[in-house]
């Protein structure tokens, strides 16, 4: 748990593994939010900013128990919850100290997915590939807000950059 007993700013966690054990470990890394106490993060939680997480793994319990590499209460995010091994390569969260900012600065390499209604969301990320979505038609499964760049894009850009919205890929450039 990060920030459960006070503020935690400018930290880096590298290669953290949550094993099955007798628990098992539910969340390998749990980022607390003092405004929204959740689970083991209580009312005494402090501010968490500028946190970098690399190589985070959860192992679940061989199919009978879902666990997550990261549960982020700041952004209500839980990337890659899974009953088996799940990994996050990079998850970096900045801060929202700017009162004009509508959210947190953040980058993650894992997208995750919505697990259940009202539950933690996945992570919008930046993806690339050579597949060509049909504008407003091709389904997208990642978290809404994920960007996708077609590296083989042509046609003046209309098939080059997309955003996942309402379950479909939408082109940036018309």
């Amino acid at each position: 748990m990060i920030g459960s007993q006070g503020s935690a700013q400018g930290n880096v966690l590298i290669n953290v593994y949550g094993g099955p054990g007798n628990g098992p470990v539910t969340n390998t890394v749990h980022i607390c939010n003092p405004i929204k106490p959740n689970g083991n993060c209580g009312n005494s939680s402090g501010t968490v900013t500028d946190l970098a997480l690399l190589q985070i793994e959860s192992q679940g319990n061989r199919g009978s128990f879902s666990s997550a590499p990261i549960l982020d209460d700041l952004t209500s995010t839980e990337p890659s919850s899974s009953p088996v091994n799940a990994y996050v390569g990079m998850y970096v969260i900045g801060n929202n100290n700017n009162t004009q900012a509508p959210g947190y600065s953040r980058f993650a390499s894992s997208q995750g997915a919505n697990q259940y209604p009202g539950g933690p969301s996945g992570v919008p990320t930046l993806a690339i590939g050579t597949a060509v979505p049909t504008k407003n038609m091709t389904p997208c499964n990642p978290t809404p807000g994920t960007l996708y760049a077609n590296t083989a894009g042509t046609q003046g850009g209309s098939n080059t950059v997309f955003v996942c919205q309402s379950g479909k890929w939408h082109a940036f450039i018309m």
């Binding site: 290669n15 793994e57 091994n85 390499s109 930046l126 597949a131 389904p139 590296t151 894009g153 080059t160």
Partner: protein
Amino acid sequence: MATAKRLKTGLGLLVVLLGTSSRLLAQGAAPTAVGQNAVVQQINPVAAINAPAFVDASVYQTDICTAIADVLMNWTGGQGGNSSGVVIDARGVSSLDCNQSSYQNPWANLNGSGFTDTVLLPAGTIKIYQTWTLIANTRIIGEGPNLTTLQAASSLTSNNGDGDMIDMGGQPVIVNGTTYYPCPLNPKNGIADCTGVVIEHLGLDGGARSGFTVNGIGNNFSEELSYVNDVTLTHIAGTGLSVGVSCPNNSCAGYSSNSGPYSNISYTGTGVCLNIVEKNPTVGTNSVRGFHGLTCSTSIIPAAIYLDGSNTTMEDITIIGSSSSQDGILIGSNTNAAARADALRNIRSGGSLGNLIHISGNTQGQPPQPDVSDVTILNASQGPQSSTNVTIRDELTNTTLTDASIGMYVLGEPVTVGSSSGYSRFTTSPNSPTWLVGTASLGTTSSCPANGTGSLYTCTNSSNCSSTTLWACASQKWIPIK
């Protein structure tokens, strides 16, 4: 103050003690432990007693392998192994050729439980003829990688035939009807599980004779508190350092999970510098405590380093190759393994390499999943004397980056695009889709490179970019978005 000369009291030698000028040592019970120092106890009567701090192996007057084995047998309770442990000082042993040794592997007839042993090796070249299979809680420490050298004889043999000079733990072996356990069996799964196996401050010389392939260090059985530090591997035609699992016939008998760190290692040879492999992700990861400070100089094709394990950290790695067909680090090439949540930092090439870092496009399972995911690369660069062609080659995203240095390359996981998929990925290289930031307005006619197709550009200057703040690179032009 008093000093004592080395005693060999088991043979009834005279005890000679130098005392202070003010008092004489009373005759006490003569020390009886071969190899121990005699010290003066400060009670009346003042007498020489055995010092249990360490055992001097030089008084055994045999070759170093036999001397170590004899001390172990004498001081650890032999097979029962119920001693509290022993420090063996072999720095005074002068016979360093184990050819005629009764115990060419000094730990051969011991069980790895119940005691610890630390062996201090002498300066010089120790010639070994059989794999040294270190048992649990064994530490071998040289006087330095350029001073203490273990050299493989051309007839080097090993029980399991792997050709390693040193194995960190091993499977049970039967000798003359007796089963010996180098590693105790884990009661949960019956798998050999060593702890506390350490190799430090020495060199391994593989001999490098024609037709003779030998490996350096292998770890398939040692886990917590096991590590390698300050070791040179020279003239190795096989694999310098192998860290993985023992899973013959798909049935695993040992792991190296939680071992490490493996640090300050130099490899010179014609084989594989480092091989990291796990069985597969459903068996469990092979998470180790990283490889920190490694220089590999080798000519082998296809790769100097194989990374087929998960949760592995590699940092401060230099690879000196000799061929444009050679990869420095090849990730995910083993289709029976996976490479997930790995991190590579400060990876540097020297000499000639085709790809400094090569991410395999292999997949496994149904629906197919890539062998590689969630990999973070920070600071990959080509050294000033390097003629490396490609810094990062990523087959999963069909990306080839030839930048002299790349600050960050993060490959995540598949992202669904209809019936196909892309990959979440971020890089700081401008020669692949990325997110750029600047203060210039790009207008409507600025060009962008073809390999940057899909890049985004944000203008942060509100006066320059009042009409447009976000552009995308498409058809080699920056297209205004918003």
